[in-house]
Amino acid sequence: MAQKRVLMKGNEVIAEAALRAGCRNYFGYPITPQTEVMHYMAKKMVQIGGNFVQAESEVSAINMVYGAAAAGARVLTSSSSPGVSLKQEGISYIAGAELPAVVVNIMRAGPGLGGIQPAQGDYFQATKGGGHGDYRNLVIAPASIQELYELTVEAFNLADKYRMCAMILGDGTLGQMMEPVAFRDEEPIVTVEKPWACTGRGDRADHNTVTSIYIDPDVLEAKNVELQEKYKYIEENEVRYEAYGLEDAEIVITAFSTCSRICKNVIRQAAELGIKVGMIRPITLWPFPTKIINETAALSNVKAFLDVELNMGQMVEDVRLAVNGQKPVYFHGRAGGNLPTQKEILDKIVEISKGGNV
């Protein structure tokens, strides 16, 4: 049963969703534009007897996450781009130790300290590793506040199921905007046994150890292979995307999160000009929806792809790999915290439709 729709800010919805998912541990360090996640947690955790710590830095926050996850608890941290860079070492350790944790990145423009306005420049960092070593994070990119709520709850389930880091990747727009959200009366929490958790030896014969250090190359290689098998399974089973208008599209837009919403308006405007444009919106950025993009590229009605991002061209590389040379893939990106206008995307579509050089 869904409750009445209420108007809420994206960042607050993330925190509320985490609480509803049974998360009682939050560790973070403030940074624009995600700080409202912390505000909300600071207020609520006290009321419900959970743990909230504003750590002295992002590095210590992510290591507190490691600790809570190792003890078997549901745990959240959130930050924005420069802060998430600082967390990368801990995220790699979490991957190595196979711990379930949810990390939120409400992206701002970079590199470096960059700016505070919305961007999607951390796509590479989120999907290709970010930290050191051979590992993956589940990367989930909601496009609306309702989806942000549902997918944050889901992120906790997925993290527990696969014992890995699930990252919610949004941008400043998603974090700062308000939209109606209808909460469910009951969350679909999937409870997973955690016999590996360090909860004190108790009646167990041996004590549990959570670690990411494997000095023996053969042991570590076996661990690497095991991780890759898990990742392969996820690639086959957890891909999510939204697609529409593909059956008669002349041009297919690929865009994620906020950017896909701007494109949605453009698709309507293009239709008024008689240009049929479809959309593939990856919801999971890793695992990436390679198959649907590859199959769509094979359609005879599809002439070209246009990838639109709030960066200078990152996801477009995965789109090109998926298209695999079957059709041209064009790119339009804005950076620095600027968003593309509908008009500039529409102009690009018109050019592509005319077969022009874009």
Partner: protein, 179 residues
């Protein structure tokens, strides 16, 4: 109504973001889709602030507005900045108690209303933006007075309910300038 868009702009502290939220709440009360997106960052009291509100019968595409149906301004820099962001045939509303302005465009409707004077008269400066919401409602029908009133009772904590009649007076006085 599809993607009806309003930009509210002024100085931080004038209640711009709250007014935008109240407009969104009123439209939400009618069962519409709404989005509210603020300017954020270093702008605090005294700096500039603005927010974009989109109201629609369908799921909203972009919460970011390039061409607004209505722009409501409580200071001159905002009017200068956002006049060009209005659709042809759209409306620019300014608080003429605070500044005078002459739009350079002739393809938009211009409403200069003494919002702050209305608020002073009613004894609460917070009513300035409310009177402008009244004007917005009357000029465009993007949400009704009834929805505005009901949403106030729903959203405001009970300790503030005594202030609602005053809000409605401001709303009605502002609505008179929509003509």
């Amino acid at each position: 109504m599809i993607d009806f868009s309003v930009i509210l702009a002024g100085f931080g502290g004038q209640g711009i973001l709250s007014a935008g939220k109240m407009a969104a709440e009123a439209a939400l009360f009618e069962g519409k889709e709404v989005s509210w997106f603020p300017s954020y960052g270093p702008e605090m009291r005294g700096g500039t602030a603005n927010c974009s509100v989109v109201i629609s019968d369908e799921p909203i595409g972009s919460p970011v507005i390039n061409d607004a149906d209505v722009v409501i301004c409580l200071n001159q820099p905002s009017a200068e900045k956002f006049e060009s962001s209005i659709k042809p045939g759209g409306i620019l509303v300014i608080d003429s108690s605070l500044f005078s302005y002459e739009p350079s465009r002739t393809d938009i409707k211009f409403i200069a209303m003494p919002a702050s004077d209305i608020a002073t008269e009613l004894g609460n400066m917070q009513f300035a933006t409310i009177s402008m919401l009244g004007c917005l409602s009357a000029a465009t029908g993007c949400f009704s007075r009834e929805s505005f009133e009901s949403s106030l009772y729903e959203v405001l904590p009970e300790r503030h309910h005594a202030k609602i009649p005053g809000n409605l007076s401001a709303f009605d006085k502002g609505a008179a300038y929509a003509k």
